[in-house]
Symmetry: C2
């Protein structure tokens, strides 16, 4: 018991029982106490160390719970065997954040950003505050597919804006497209083979690949995914962006849509995943209705998100399941908790119910139309106009720019960078080799986050940079 002499720190920071506990752990780990050895009785130790029996008892109980000691009734406490590896609690690692080397641009034509400044943020914040202050009950568990009131207002919104025909029971609200697509991949079973548009949406491709599914990459022609190639492929699930193909901007015409639905109807396990990623925005007339609402068969899984119409950091996406998948979904995912905070769910519900999103989209549409017109007009008036072709500008928030003046895509991107303008090349969106990829260099022009003035300036810089000889 001589070794059990502890220099207690009586600074009030660490309780005595914990110091005693730590000391004994150390003794056992370092081998000073051996397996089977009997510990001093609580009374003896308390006398010896001049601490209360209660303190010793607490430390002993901790040591028993954690398996360092075992208590033998009417006998006392014995040291247990602690198998190697012997180890020490490790300190916290302190790696500091490594900021990415700052690539600075004045103008950014990336496709994944929107004009977050235009969002009626004050309204959103006010609704959030109201809900936080008056609906405390939202701290409790909600429905796994999302609360019913939100699903009702999303169903109504999708019907009015996109011609989607669904009941709230078919809707699943989730924190982002990747999450929902992962569920769909699992739902469609291990043998599903996915057909992807090529070029296509890399994130969706990565998500499907991460889910362990096989993929076929089909060419995108002037009407969207090639149906001929789809029929020739072993795929039973077609992932498509018919309203505004990403990234080419092709709108799938009604004839191709009908053929695609016909393909799905031919076999029991065929499905179409319709990703309607920025379908709210079309500039000549009304938006093209979603495939889902036109389908006579029950084979379309419709996926969309509010990240583009509201803000990228608000993580609320949704999917509409066909009836035939509702029961399998319930069976396998029915116990999953919703991935969206109920406070945000109810904020969005009120935002939709009270018409704020509608008004916001109408304002946005006008603003985006002006940006689109500025972009088209600037290129039309550019000295480079004879070498330029614009594609896919009828819908969505970006278009393609084909530049046929002898430079490669990489040269064009590098020259743009020289004048501090960020553009992306189409070739980066080819998910697999394609004979169509050998066309003239093509760039993506996302114009959602640039004002007409910025667009004018940026196009002017590009025209100058691409017009001169590149060394």
């Amino acid at each position: 018991m001589g070794s059990l002499t502890i220099d207690f720190r009586r600074d009030g920071k660490t309780p005595l029982y914990y110091q005693l506990y730590q000391f004994i752990v150390e003794e056992i780990r370092s081998g000073h106490y051996r397996e089977g050895e009997k510990m001093p009785s609580k009374r003896a130790l308390s006398d010896h160390l001049k601490i209360s029996q209660n303190t010793v008892d607490t430390a002993y109980q901790m040591l028993v719970t954690e398996g360092y000691l075992r208590a033998v009734a009417k006998s006392g406490f014995y040291v247990c065997r602690v198998e190697a590896p012997l180890f020490q609690p490790k300190p916290m690692e302190t790696i500091s954040q490594q900021a990415a080397p700052g690539e600075e641009y004045d103008f950014d034509f990336s496709t994944n950003t929107v004009d977050a400044d235009a969002f009626p943020y004050a309204t959103w914040a006010k609704i959030t505050k109201e809900i936080m202050y008056h609906q405390r009950e939202l701290l409790r568990h909600g429905h796994g597919q999302g609360d019913w009131c939100l699903r009702e207002s999303v169903a109504k919104y999708l019907h009015e804006y996109r011609g989607v025909a669904c009941s709230p029971a078919q809707l699943v609200v989730g924190a982002g497209m990747e999450y929902l697509l992962t569920l769909v991949c699992q739902l469609l079973g291990p043998d599903a083979i996915f057909a992807m548009e090529n070029p296509g949406y890399p994130k969706a491709c990565q998500t499907i690949r991460n889910s362990g599914k096989s993929l076929c990459f089909l060419d995108v022609d002037q009407q969207g995914m090639s149906l001929e190639q789809l029929y020739d492929s072993p795929a039973n699930v077609a992932y498509i962006t018919p309203s505004h193909q990403f990234p080419t901007g092709v709108v799938m015409p009604i004839g191709r849509r009908a053929e695609l639905l016909g393909w799905a109807a031919e076999r029991a396990n065929r499905y179409v995943i319709e990703d309607d990623y920025d379908s709210e925005f079309k500039f000549s007339g009304r938006p093209i209705p979603a495939l889902q609402g036109l389908a006579p068969t029950d084979r379309v899984i419709y996926i969309g998100t509010f990240s583009r119409s509201i803000a990228p950091s608000i993580r609320i996406a949704y999917m509409v399941l066909p009836h035939c998948l509702l029961e399998p979904y319930q069976e396998r995912f029915g116990k999953y908790s919703s991935t969206v905070s109920r406070f945000e769910q109810h904020t969005l519900h009120c935002f939709l119910r009270d018409g704020h999103l509608e008004r916001h989209l109408n304002r946005r549409k006008n603003s985006y139309r002006k940006r689109r017109e500025a972009l088209l007009a600037e290129w039309k008036n550019s000295p480079l106009a004879p070498d330029i072709q614009i594609l896919g500008a009828n819908a969505g928030l970006h278009c393609l720019l084909r530049v046929d003046n002898g430079y490669t895509e990489n040269q064009l991107i590098a020259a743009a960078k020289e004048v501090r303008v960020k553009v992306q090349g189409l070739s980066g969106y080819y998910l697999a080799p394609s004979r169509l990829s050998c066309q003239a260099p093509t760039l993506l022009m996302g114009y959602a986050q640039l004002s007409p003035e910025q667009i004018r300036e940026a196009v002017g810089r590009l025209s100058w940079a691409w017009g001169k000889s590149i060394v």
Copy 2:
């Protein structure tokens, strides 16, 4: 052109171009216009219908974009072929919410609820409001693993509370355990075989199963998952709840922990997933440190959630990846957007930084300790005491009650229901048959959401209901 006589509704609700568009779509679908047929010129139709040429142009452009017409330069517009199936936009389905038949209880010993009333909601709401009103920039994209400041405060919290050793770079913040566990399943590859505790956590089991992984179910003995069975199994990933095994409440002693880490160190592809689901709460002395912080090897994936310490509807969970998995994670999931809203991320960050969670947990711990003591004391004083054994009460927010008075588990649950008390049976948590499941009937007693008075009343009712003869 005679058939092109439209009775325009001039009520201002539907624009003329859209009425014209709808009319022509209908004519094409019904076969009145046939493939190849030439449409009247814009000027002719505008004269005929007494509408502006602009209106006709908009409708024609929509029809071209959607593939009903094609434009032939210097000639005019022609009807395209529309393949069967012919279809109509469908109306929205209106299925109303079906409320579950109300099973009413006065007292609920379920394990999945906490006392949401105790949460310092006003503070949380105030922080949220402050952030909403002053950090508009949070509308933009954040980091896919969660914003750095939150990861820093979570790493600090985990180190102080749980002895977890990690840098913020190893942390991934996500919307719930199911989501993070799904990522882990994908990350560990298609050939991973998971060992689950039996009885165990059904949601984790379902999530792993949904991810297409093979599962082995191993018995839980007095020290947790059987290591003997683990060595005999083909599993290379062990999913465990060492701090308070769910549902038995067993705390894995230090010796078994060391053995488990030894098992993981033996092969390159072995991992331990440590689910630390309600580890903040331990009642005799300090919480047992997490396995992760003790591991000399880089093979522990640590998962936890704030759903229990804050509120079930706040969907913020986290995982700590070992260094060896950081690069594969980045490669495969680096482009995924975070599933947690940045506003909630920053609210939690401030809540942690300013010590609110710490104070909340301390208050909760005292309150839960009283509830636990009330539960233990009531059963000790119950007339049923000789037939009762309480297990797993050292940590966590529930314990097990073994009742050996001749009744089956189902009879006990039914008798409890008669007196409006909800209890769950242990047998429902056996994920696979086990020879250990033939023990005396055992019930789960989650006491987190009941006050000491409620616990006294509920235990009184149970003692009465289980004490009388059951017909």
